[in-house]
């Protein structure tokens, strides 16, 4: 029984949350990775794009809620998501027209593009706040739990709780579907291949009759969609706050790079590496130990590192990975 309790504790506090968080990071990292591999720059505006997309989804969700439309046990936001994606993608296309297009034309160095994206980040940052303000917003409706602590205890009679939120399940499922779809798209479809061709050698793509404008447009549309999906799932699971989305940028980049930037599978793997190392390595084993060795009451927390340094842990791992596998876990590309 105690063994099961120990397992349940680990599942509840480490495995489930880290999986959901990892999937959220992964979706964010996918967007970053895509822009990196096709348009060849690190897009620092991605976090704010996520915030913007989510902001739109929230507004539409409110609209639906006001009209009394809902999805039953699923959050209404899922219904609003496609509309949010359309608006965000449109914004992406607009931004590209107004801003990025010029730099491609003059073939600006990637770092100039990075700086441009910082500029866009500032602007989007303001835009999102004009749109929906700075407050924390919860827009999750529908059934919150698949299993909650009380149900679990009644069901199993265990003393340790175990909960599974519907948003966690939705996040993971969506992440799997999205990455599969993206992978298929890039690897198998003609448009997808033309995008890779463009990313490899822009001039030659031109010479093969590939329309660069189309490639760029498709890239931005997908990115907009990925950002909106990632942002919405994250917001559903935790909550929406513009500032947090900017802060997410760092772990997202870390994920993309640990996995091997430019590589979709890498982005997914990276998300999980980062999330599991954050949660796992700072876990206090006290509870588990007490279950396993019943007669021992440790006076400390049996914790390798205090949570103060959880970011240090994930970045140390990042650096170690890079030193021993310089292109990330899965081979990424370097511009």
């Amino acid at each position: 029984m105690d063994l099961i309790n120990a397992l349940v504790a680990i599942t509840n506090y480490v495995i489930i949350p880290a999986t959901a968080y990892g999937a959220q990071l992964a979706l964010g990292a996918l967007g970053v990775t895509l822009i990196y591999s096709i348009l060849r720059f690190s897009n620092f505006a991605h976090g704010d794009t996520m915030a913007f997309g989510t902001g739109i989804v929230i507004l539409i969700t409110w609209g639906f809620q006001a009209m009394g439309i809902s999805l039953g046990p699923l959050p209404t936001a899922l219904l609003a998501l496609p509309f949010g994606i359309i608006v965000t993608a449109a914004l992406m296309l607009g931004t590209d027209k107004v801003v990025y297009q010029y730099y491609r034309k003059v073939r600006a160095a990637p770092v100039v593009m990075v700086m441009v994206s910082v500029g866009v980040m500032f602007v989007m940052n303001a835009l999102t706040r004009f749109l929906i303000g700075v407050d924390q917003i919860n827009f999750d409706d529908g059934a919150r739990f698949v299993i909650n602590a009380r149900q679990w205890r009644e069901m199993t009679g265990l003393s340790e709780p175990l909960t599974l939120r519907s948003t966690q399940v939705i996040t993971v499922v969506t992440a799997i579907i999205t990455v599969a779809a993206l992978f298929w798209f890039l690897g198998k479809t003609r448009t997808g291949k033309s995008m890779r061709a463009y990313s490899d050698n822009e001039d030659l793509a031109l010479l093969s009759g590939i329309d660069p404008n189309r490639v760029v447009a498709v890239t931005w549309i997908i990115t907009g969609a990925l950002a909106t999906i990632a942002g919405t799932l994250y917001g559903l699971d935790k909550s929406f706050k513009a500032f947090t989305y900017f802060q997410l940028l760092l772990p997202i980049f870390a994920s993309a790079i640990v996995g091997g930037i430019g590589n979709p599978v890498g982005a997914i793997a990276g998300g999980f590496v980062i999330s599991f190392s954050e949660v796992g390595l700072t876990y206090a084993w006290k509870k588990v130990v007490t279950y396993l060795i019943p007669n021992w009451q440790p006076d400390g927390l049996v914790q390798l590192l205090s949570t103060d340094y959880k970011y240090a842990v994930s970045f140390t791992i990042l650096i170690l990975v890079l030193i021993f596998k310089p292109t990330g876990l899965f081979k990424g590309k370097i511009v």
Binding site: K193, S194, R196, A197, D200, L204, A205, L206, S208
Partner: protein
Amino acid sequence: MSYLNASEMTGGYGKADILHSCTLTVEKGEIAVIVGPNGAGKSTAMKAVFGMLSLREGKVTLDGVDITGLSPQDRVKKGMGFVPQVNNVFPTMTVEENLEMGAFIRDDDFAGTMEQVYELFPILKEKRRQNAGELSGGQRQQVAVGRALMTQPKLLMLDEPTAGVSPIVMDELFDRIIEVARTGISILMVEQNARQALEIADKGYVLVQGANKYTDTGQALLADPEVRRTFLGG
């Protein structure tokens, strides 16, 4: 009117002009070869014909149609194919994907053409799952030419296709170029292996400092001692 008629092209990369009223024409099914010293503007002229350089003066017509204002990818749709001198493969795509990209604008089944390319360059078939960026210099060059052939162009432009390929492959390549030309496709190419190239050329251009210096049949140029000495290495 010639099939390709690029007349009086003048222009450059921004500062000074590189091309000075340079004229290139190719008939249907003809092989035209451009030779000249390094930096003469041969590649620049090719780029100009393909619309990758904005011309200050001059115009380009293809099959009688003025294409001066068209973008490169539109020219591809008009039946032009181009193998640039450098950066002419997609390095992180496999050989096969490189060829597929060559056939991007084609809606028909291109499996046959791909087989032909593999026949021409057997090594590519062997390496078709490998990324082009990992190939040797000469192998890459073969991929580059193969990619352009996949388009099934009506006018094929090659910028030093034989640079870095081994003699045996070079022979094959020239052979194939002759064959291609015989099917009615026009060829415009820049070559430094000038003697072999002029050998098969219907028409040769010697370009010096962006201007036409000599224009004649391939054989005639080969026979001209002045041309031989100054441009073909004796």
